[in-house]
């Protein structure tokens, strides 16, 4: 069974854990049968986007099973936009990643709107850290940005019901449920309100989180074999051309 992980990281985190070696990415991928992983640099997420992206670019040159997200900092849009284009030009990056908490830019911020404009122009998928009810703003924000496809990373966190309803409203919003706190019934709820199977993606937050956490969520969701194939690989393959 093919598995593509659309939400992963490379590099160390400022917590009591030792997960920064790319060898761990590969060890965990092998353990669970994950073929490909799309990663952003932890340093780029929590500290310096451009510097972190540059370090990741070097790692990606040696790791064909990993692809990259270039982290975009909405507070430094002009610099980040150029950096994104530079990263994409290497052929090893396939999307953009935006965290909302570390740079302090919520989804409803004017800075985020400007950043969405830029991403709509560039036309690559965006992995957006979503954590809270402002995930409900996404359908309206995508209405006039026809080229932008957004993966709702963590599927809204605590606001997983709002994230599901947003995905029903807009077919360019994808749900990805990785999270340490694995609230029961999130996927069942999303399906019950009408999120199409095409809009579910598989992500892990590895190596910050062990992939088995998200795999457990998938196991408990009770997908059919055909649905599993779609969620674990086919949808991501289509979205990223992998």
């Amino acid at each position: 069974m093919r598995i593509i992980d659309v939400h992963a990281h490379w590099g160390p985190w400022p917590f009591h854990m030792e997960v920064g070696d790319v060898a761990l990415n590969l060890e965990l991928m092998d353990r669970y049968g994950i073929e490909l992983q799309i990663v952003s640099a932890a340093e780029a997420v929590v500290y310096d986007a451009v510097a972190g992206n540059a370090k990741l670019a070097e790692v990606l040159q040696e790791q064909p099973r990993l692809h990259g997200y270039a982290v975009v900092n909405a507070n430094r849009l002009e610099r980040s936009a150029q950096d994104l284009r530079d990263c994409l030009s290497t052929g090893r990056f396939v999307g953009a990643k935006i965290h909302t908490t570390y740079p302090g830019v919520p989804i409803g911020s004017p800075l985020m709107a400007d950043t969405f404009d830029m991403l709509d122009e560039v036309g690559v998928p965006l992995l957006l850290h979503t954590w809270g009810t402002d995930v409900s703003l996404l359908p309206e924000m995508l209405e006039n940005r026809p080229n932008l496809k957004v993966i709702a990373g963590h599927a809204g966190g605590d606001a997983w019901r709002e994230a599901a309803r947003a995905a029903v409203e807009c077919d360019r919003i994808y749900l990805e449920h990785c999270r340490t706190v694995t609230d029961a019934g999130r996927i069942t709820f999303a399906r019950s309100v009408g999120v199409p199977m095409e809009q579910f993606l598989f992500g892990t937050d590895s190596t910050l989180i062990d992939p088995c956490i998200s795999l457990g969520v998938i196991r408990d969701a009770g997908f059919t074999p055909e649905e599993l194939e779609q969620v674990l690989a086919t949808n991501a393959s289509r979205l990223f051309g992998l």
């Binding site: 353990r31 049968g33 019934g185 088995c212």
Partner: protein, 309 residues
């Protein structure tokens, strides 16, 4: 290659310390006791420390009574903890948010009825067969509402008299943001009675009050981001334990085992509010010895219950 799709014996759990039943208004659905037991059984969880949500949200007295009554009604016998576990074969040795979910009735005649059904067995209700599913043993957990703890001592006496050995505190949903007079009072009274404390919330917030008392504590909401703080406390507090539920990093469980030993970890799923498979899979794939895995999966809790009897 998809081994993770199939539950393995390394995922079997002897004791789950974090289980509830009953309505939860902010959750899409409510789960009654039968539903919870069925879910536990399907997940190969053999015993659960369990209580009614009523005690957390609405009335501690009514909730405690409901817990004991409901558990008494699930079985007609109540063997001692140690014996019943021995009878259950090799697996019995462990073979294999801001509040929930996230993370006595006073001594009245009704209480007396409950006491008669449950108390003699050390609070332990015997496992029973459930239509082909593995049996699930239930261990009642009591609670005291920290918003109104004036009568807590009487409540604790009633619980202990009914064989309840574990007291769960709900600081998150009850708005207890730190060491309030009620919190300190209840902790003191519970420890004095030798009860095991099931503590929700941020361990950094409550650790200092709980330290230095010889308390047996299980932190139910230890997030992996706070692991460093927990380990610093746990080194000097052998009675401090945590559940593995949110130790989600690839080395979280391993770091606790390496630093303070497996005896300070237990399994607590927060059923029915959390998925179980993520937690059993993390335990299954943890790079620890089978002996340490068995301790975490229930050996530690079994020993703690025997000690508390």
């Amino acid at each position: 290659m998809a081994d993770w799709l199939t539950r393995s014996p390394e995922e079997h759990i002897l004791y789950d310390v974090d289980v509830l039943f009953g309505p939860w208004p902010s959750h899409p659905t409510d789960s009654d006791l039968a539903t919870v037991k069925s879910h536990l059984a399907r997940s190969h969880i053999q015993n659960a420390l369990i209580l009614s949500t009523q005690g957390a949200l609405f009335s501690d007295q009514a909730g405690n009574t409901e817990t004991l009554t409901a558990l008494a009604n699930t079985s007609s016998s109540a063997p001692p903890t140690s014996r019943s576990d021995q009878e259950r074969g090799p697996d019995a040795a462990g073979g294999g948010s801001g509040g929930v979910p996230g993370s006595s009735a006073s001594p009245t005649s009704r209480a007396g009825q409950v006491h008669g059904a449950v108390g003699a067995g050390g609070g332990r209700v015997a496992p029973e067969q459930q239509g082909g599913q593995p049996a699930v043993g239930l261990v009642p957990v009591g609670t005291v509402d920290l918003r109104d703890a004036v009568g807590a001592a009487e409540q604790l006496d009633w619980l202990v008299g009914n064989g309840v050995r574990c007291l769960r505190l709900f600081t998150g949903v009850q708005g207890v943001l730190g060491e309030t007079p009620a919190y300190k009072y209840v902790v003191g009274e519970a420890v004095r009675r030798g009860m095991v404390l099931l503590q929700d919330g941020d361990p950094r917030r409550f650790g200092e009050v709980l330290a230095g008392r010889g308390a047996e504590v299980i932190f139910l909401d230890l997030h992996v981001y706070l692991l460093g703080d927990f380990l610093l406390m746990a080194k000097s507090e052998p009675g401090f334990r945590a559940t593995t539920r949110m130790l989600s990093s690839p080395d979280g469980i391993e770091r606790v085992v390496e630093t303070v030993g497996a005896r300070q970890l237990v399994f607590g799923s927060r059923t029915p509010f959390m998925d179980i498979s993520p937690q059993t899979l993390r335990l299954r794939y943890a790079r620890i010895s089978p002996e340490d895995r068995a301790l975490i999966a229930g050996g530690n809790m079994k020993a703690l219950l025997e000690k508390a009897v």
